[in-house]
Subunit: 346 residues, 3 copies
């Protein structure tokens, strides 16, 4: 793919500072970019590379300047970058149609416009919509429904009765609908509570590699529209995640906890079960959340504190040993002073 | 499935308060239940829903009352629920027998009463007992032994020489018997120490999706009878987990650590290697355990503290900045007071 | 395999204390070893077992003594153990050649000296070198290159365009090259940023079960020579891990973070994105790293502190409630003393 800077600027609605005629063949990061490459500044940390980059042009936000460089200025560089990446590097699954080497049980409804790779396993009662791609090693259990234009990557498992929407992406190793973890009399008899619910994944959800989303005990575990979940995340039975929420890698959410809309959860955070996290909450990486969080709150630490309190605590955490030592001295000093004073008063 | 409340009460040994003749068709959670549904109160948090639920009947523990509602009173609602769920929603793998589309090497002993799905891979020397179900995408390595009535879900891997008991459930993506993580001269040469032991999983163990249990360096990694392990848990080489213990999601247990019986471990907790955790220990979610824990202890925090000390610390953690600020003032005040006093005494 | 102690000592270059003629048939841990077994002391914790072990001989480091026991003394017992384990228990994949039951697309270059198991899936454009073993259930995406003598265990997924070196071990369930987690306008629109880079894994790298290594947004995610990564680790897009580094289980490394050479990371530690960790850094288990770390530093805690400061804080953490209580008393005492003094002075 080759385009002039002018063509690119027209495509993304940007303004050029510099030469319009240079040819762009590739998009590369600011550290790797060379002649013929377009690069971008998406994180202020990389502004320092603006002078030294060898890129032929740089995608920047307004107010960014760089003498002698060719810039395309757009209000949202990341959004423009997305359009260009899709243009330069279109996704290609390399196949279409339903392979005769897939194992497809009787009584399924797979669109003839779906792509089923060899070695996928489709159980009876499954429905798969047009444009959906199912890679090798995928197991789709009985009566699962998958919408249109979804991508189910290699070695994904979707257990029976789960419902997957349109434009959903399940990355490799994802397990949807394994049994929730529920036992009566835990630690003594460990009597398994049958997990007879399902998992519902709404449109435009993306779920990262090796993430596990358990089926509900009863009813459904529910991942709502446009939620994005990273790798190795654990979502327990009956959890609900509200639309547009973003869950970073290795987060764990315990049973029946409900997240509102647009919740942002940092990596490795954990939440106990049966709590409510309000809309627009932000949870710092590594936090442990033990109670309900009100809409819009920002929290950190384990157990959670309001973010500011947590930062203040962390800031003087390393002073505790010094405080403790001086404190003992002070106690003695005051005692001695008191005694002297008592003596004097007498 | 349709049963009268009277039939249900007889089946689980409960007492009815209200009408005996109503028909139950489904079991649902208290929030979702509607006419024709039986629901239950398993967590006190949900007692508030007792008045408003639309369920036709509610399974409750003794002393629970709800005017105008049909109740079945049992001493252990969760245990009764288990029996009813098994009755209303019996497990159904949808197949039986050994599929000719499974890949089975020569020299295996698979019971004719086992179920092997298409696309499972069974290596030579493997033994599989009657009633055991092996789903598609499963890899069973050489000389593995699996007992009776176990379920090996899709895309599980069990490496060579591991021993799996009866009524064991391995959820999808579980890896049993990958190499333990052992290197001589770590960080410099990283010389791999061959991992030549195996994993033994005793009867009635259940292991959650994408959990990994490494083979021993020598000898065995051992998961004892009736242990229940959640998703995405890491069990390192030569770990022993005592019977009835319950390990929640994303826990990590380092090499050669031994857990006693009936140990309860909260989610995302971690344990260093070569330590002993006594019987009946409880470890709070997110804890980091760095030393032996005596039987019956309850611990939390990272590094661990006795649970009460940990709670007390956490409770005044957010006061540290204030203490620090006031402390500096107090030091000055005492100094000034001392000087004045000295002056006066002179 | 049977060898005399003399033969073993000759093979590993050790010195015998005791009888040279005894026959060794197996290598076992010090707790399990019995007559005919060689055992070893690799961790000082186990020195206490030296007297009571039933092993016929013990591999020890210099200066270790045990009356009446047969010892082989070597400068590095772990390295000697590695040689003996390889000798007594040679790895055996049980197959060779390219199975006709593997699914191999047109246009691949697989060495005739590679081993491809049945049910592996090899996409077009793939290159696989001699001596490499690919197990069942493995998916290799388009244009992937794998070097010589590597082992790709069952149910691994390697996505398109990734580059794997020689003598690399990918344990079961590993996912290489799933999309990095990048969205413009997170929590609101969640616009997916196409991930068009790849993953490069250099020679002698070993990666643990169910670990995920995401492809770069642009450019590459790069695991350098001889890095060892444990199970269930998350490596985000564009991360670089320097040679000989050791990453323990359940660690998470966020996007674009760079680790130097010989970095040791303890289990469950997390690192934010876009930071630099210097050569020879050691990070304690469970730490949360929020900033650059200089070469050679040892850090712990969340957020990280220099290791000594962290230990000091942890040591007096449980005293905070007591300090707080006594502190309030002290404030009152000083106030009262001051008042009395003021009165007296008047």
């Amino acid at each position: 793919m080759k385009m002039t800077l002018m063509e690119i600027a027209a495509f993304i609605g940007g303004t050029i500072i510099g030469s319009e005629d240079i040819i762009i063949s590739n998009i590369r990061s600011i550290e790797e970019a060379d002649k013929g490459d377009l690069t971008f500044i998406a994180n202020k940390k990389y502004l320092k590379n603006l002078k030294t980059t060898k890129a032929s042009a740089i995608l920047v936000s307004p107010q960014t300047t760089a003498e002698g460089k060719n810039l395309i200025v757009v209000s949202e560089p990341y959004v423009a970058l997305v359009k260009l990446l899709d243009l330069f590097y279109p996704a290609d699954h390399g196949r279409s149609g339903i392979s005769s080497d897939a194992y497809i049980e009787d009584g399924v409804e797979v669109s003839s416009k779906a792509t089923i790779f060899p070695r996928a396993f489709i159980s009876k009662g499954v429905k798969i919509g047009k444009g959906t791609v199912v890679y090798p090693g995928v197991f789709i259990g009985k009566n699962v429904s998958i919408g249109e234009n979804s991508i189910i990557y290699a070695n994904v498992t979707v257990h029976h009765s789960c419902v997957i929407g349109n434009r959903v992406i399940l990355h490799s190793g994802v397990i949807i609908g394994a049994d929730g973890f529920g036992f009566a009399s835990p630690g003594r008899q460990n009597i398994k509570i049958p997990q007879v619910g399902f998992v519902q994944i709404d449109n435009d959800v993306e779920i990262g590699a090796n993430t596990t989303i358990d089926r509900a005990t009863l009813g459904k575990t529910w991942i709502q529209r446009n939620v994005k979940i990273d790798n190795l995340v654990q979502i327990a039975h009956n959890v609900v995640i509200g639309e547009n929420s973003v869950i970073t890698a290795q987060v764990g959410i315990s049973g029946s906890t409900k997240l509102g809309k647009s919740v942002l959860v940092g990596g490795q955070a954990g939440m106990v079960g049966h709590i409510s996290i309000g809309d627009n909450v932000m949870i710092a990486a590594g936090s442990g959340i033990h109670r309900d969080i009100k809409p819009g709150e920002i929290v950190g630490g384990n157990p959670q504190l309001p973010y500011k309190e947590w930062l203040q605590f962390e800031a003087c955490r390393s002073k505790l040993p010094e405080i403790r030592a001086t404190f003992r001295d002070l106690v003695k000093k005051v005692d001695s002073l008191e005694k002297k004073f008592q003596k004097k008063v007498k």
